[in-house]
C-alpha cells in the first residue's frame, strides 16, 4: 500500500499542483503583458460617463483600483499577494455588477455548467464506449455501420458549428425545443417538479450537442481499441478455451479497453470543458460560458480573471479525481 501511495498517488498530486501552478502563473502574467492598463481604462471610463469628479478623488480612485487589481508593489509582491487572495477565495469584486463579488457570480453560474457537463460527459462516455465495444463484434450490422459513419462525420466538426446546426434545425425549422436559456426569464428558481421539467426541456439541446459529438469520439476510440484488444493473446486464449462471447466481451475485452478510455477522458476534459462553454453561449444557458460572454461585453476584467482561474482549478481537480479512480480498475497500478 505504501509503495502505491509513493509511486502513484504522490506524483499525481504533484502533477496536479504543477498544473495549478502553471495555470495560475499564466493567468497572472498574461494581463500584465497587455498594453492596456486596466486602471486607466476604468478611470477614463468614469470620466467619460460625465460625472464631475475632482482630481483628488480621481487620485483616490486610482489608488483604490490599483489596490483592488493587485497592481501595487513590485511584480514579485503582486505575485505573492495574488496567491494569497486566491487561497482565501477572494477573487475581487465584479466590475460590471459592482460590488457583487466575483465568487458569488461564479457560484451562481457554476452549478449549471457542472450539471450540464456531468450529465453530457457521463452519457456520451458510457454509451459511446458500450457501442464501440459491441461494434467490433458486429461489424456488418447496418445500424452499427451507420453509427460509425455518423461518428466519423461528426468528429471533426467544432462544438460551435454543431450547436448552431442543432439550433437551426430544432429550434428554428422544427420548433420543438426552446431557443435559449435554462428557464424562461422571470421564472422563479425553486426546487419543484415543474421547474425541474422546464430546466430539463431547456437543457436538452445543449446537452444533446455535447453528447452527440462526445459519443462519436468515444465510439471511434473504443472501436479501434477493442479491435486491437481482440487480437491480444488473452482474448484469443479465452476464445480457445470456449468462453461465451458475452463473458469475453465484458470481462476480457471491455475491462481492459476501458482503462485507456479513462485516461483519454482525463486528457480530454479540457477540450470538453471548452466545448461546453461555447454551447452555453449559443443556447443562452446561464452557466460559466454565458457569464464569460457577458464579462467580455462589459469589459469586466476581474470577472474574466475569476472565470479563468476557476476553469483551471475545476478541470485540474476533475483530472485528479479521475486519476484517483483509475487504480480501482487497473490492478497493475495498484501493485507497482
Amino acid at each position: 500500500m505504501r509503495k502505491f501511495i509513493l509511486n502513484y498517488l504522490i506524483p499525481r498530486i504533484g502533477q496536479y499542483l504543477m498544473v495549478i501552478f502553471v495555470g495560475v502563473t499564466l493567468t497572472f502574467i498574461i494581463p500584465r503583458l497587455s498594453p492596456n492598463d486596466p486602471v486607466e481604462t476604468q478611470v477614463s471610463q468614469m470620466m467619460m460617463s460625465g460625472s464631475h469628479v475632482s482630481p483628488e478623488e480621481i487620485e483616490h480612485l486610482r489608488e483604490a483600483l490599483t489596490e483592488m487589481y493587485g497592481l501595487s508593489g513590485s511584480p514579485w509582491e503582486q505575485y505573492l499577494a495574488f496567491w494569497g487572495r486566491l487561497l482565501r477565495g477572494d477573487l475581487g469584486p465584479s466590475l460590471s455588477t459592482f460590488p457583487t463579488p466575483v465568487s458569488t457570480l461564479l457560484g451562481r453560474a457554476m452549478p449549471w455548467t457542472f450539471g450540464l457537463l456531468l450529465t453530457a460527459v457521463l452519457i456520451s462516455w458510457v454509451i459511446g464506449n458500450v457501442l464501440g465495444a459491441i461494434a467490433s463484434y458486429h461489424e456488418g450490422n447496418p445500424a452499427i455501420r451507420l453509427v460509425d459513419i455518423l461518428s466519423q462525420a461528426v468528429r471533426p466538426i467544432p462544438y460551435y458549428i454543431m450547436a448552431l446546426v442543432l439550433l437551426v434545425v430544432f429550434a428554428y425549422y422544427i420548433p420543438i425545443f426552446p431557443f435559449s436559456g435554462a428557464y424562461p426569464p422571470g421564472m422563479h428558481v425553486e426546487l419543484s417538479w415543474s421547474f425541474a421539467m422546464t430546466v430539463i426541456r431547456h437543457s436538452i439541446l445543449p446537452a444533446l450537442s455535447l453528447i452527440l459529438i462526445g459519443l462519436g469520439g468515444w465510439f471511434i476510440g473504443m472501436k479501434s481499441l477493442t479491435s486491437n484488444i481482440i487480437s491480444e493473446d488473452y482474448v484469443v486464449y479465452a476464445e480457445n478455451a470456449g468462453l461465451r462471447q458475452n463473458t469475453i466481451l465484458y470481462q476480457y475485452v471491455m475491462r481492459n479497453a476501458l482503462l485507456p478510455q479513462i485516461t483519454g477522458l482525463a486528457l480530454q476534459l479540457g477540450l470538453i470543458f471548452s466545448g461546453a462553454l461555447i454551447m452555453e453561449v449559443v443556447f443562452g444557458y446561464p452557466g460559466m460560458g454565458l457569464l464569460t460572454l457577458q464579462a467580455v461585453m462589459a469589459n469586466d476584467y476581474t470577472l474574466i480573471m475569476g472565470i479563468t482561474l476557476l476553469s483551471i482549478v475545476g478541470v485540474a481537480t476533475s483530472v485528479l479525481i479521475l486519476d484517483f479512480i483509475y487504480p480501482l480498475f487497473d490492478p497493475r497500478v495498484r501493485h507497482q
Partner: protein, 330 residues
Amino acid sequence: MTLLQVEDLRAYYRTEVYGISRSVRAVDGVSLVLNHNEIYGIAGESSCGKTTLIKVISGTIKPPLRVESGSVRYNFKAFDVDMLNIDEDDLRLNVRWKEISYVMQGSMSVLNPVRKIIRTFEDIVKTHQGLPDKKLFLEHTRTHVRTLGLPADVLNLYPHQLSGGMRQRVAIALATVFHPSLIIADEPTTALDVVVQRGVLHMLKAIQEQSANTVLLVTHDLAVHANVADRVGIMYAGRIVEEAPTRIIFNEPRHPYTQHLIQSLPVIGDKSPKASLSGAPPSLANPPSGCRFHPRCPMAMEICLTETPEMIRLTPQHRVACHLMTGARA
C-alpha cells in the same frame, strides 16, 4: 484407434488491400495421424506454417484464414468430430477445453491482466460445467494446481505478479482442468531460461503420463523434442517433409532438411565446424515450384524443380517426402 486424422489439409490466408491480393499458403497439403497416449512433436523454423496447422486443428479458423481443402477428423472417447464442419456452439461447449486445449505461444500474456487467476479458472469452469458448489470448486482447483507443482496461493494473485515461467505453468494448469484428450502446446518453452524450461517440460510429461492423453508439442527447438516427444514430424514451408519416432529422426534422418537440422545440433566433444544452409525459408505467398526445399537442398535433382514429392512410407513408422527416396522403399 487413432485420435486425429488430418488428410491433405490446405489452409491459406487471403488478403486484399488497395487492390493487391495475396494468398499465403501456410498449410499446403499436410496429412498426419495422432494416436492416443503419445507425445507428438512438430519441428520447423519460424513461418513454416506450424501455427496455422495448429489453428486449423484446434478449430480456430478466422478470416483471412480459410481452409481450401482437406479434412480434420477426431475420435474422442465418447464421440467423433469433423472439425471442419462442426457447429460453432457444439465446438465451444463440448470440444473446446474438454477434449482439446491449446497452450499458446508466448504464454506470458494469455492471462487477463485485470482478473485474478482464480477468476480465470472460474470463467472456464463455469462455461463448461457450471459452478453449483463454489467451495468444492475452490478445493478442486487448489488440488489441481498443487498436483502440478504450483503453490496454491498463486490463485489469488494477478498475472503481472507472477514470473514468466509461473505464468506458463498456470496456463498449462488451466489447459488441463478438464483432462482433455488432446493438449496442443505451441512453443511452451520459448523465452524461458533452461531451468524453467525443465520445469515446464517436466509438468507436461507428468500430465501426459497421468492422463494417458495426447500432447501435440510444437517447437523449433529439437532438444525439446529429443527430451519429450515419442514421434516427431518435420515441417517445411507448409508441408510435412519427414515423420518418424524420435530416435529414428535423430539417428537416421532421411530428408536433406532433417539431416541438416540434426547435423547442426551441438554435440559435446565434437569440434567440427557446422555448415549453415544457404538461402532463407521461402515466402509462403510465393513458394518455389516442385519441392519447396530445392533452392537450398545440396542434393537437388532436376525432378525436384518441377514435381512436388509425395509422402513415401519407408517403414510403417517412418515417412519421407523426397525424390531421393524413390526406389528406396522398405
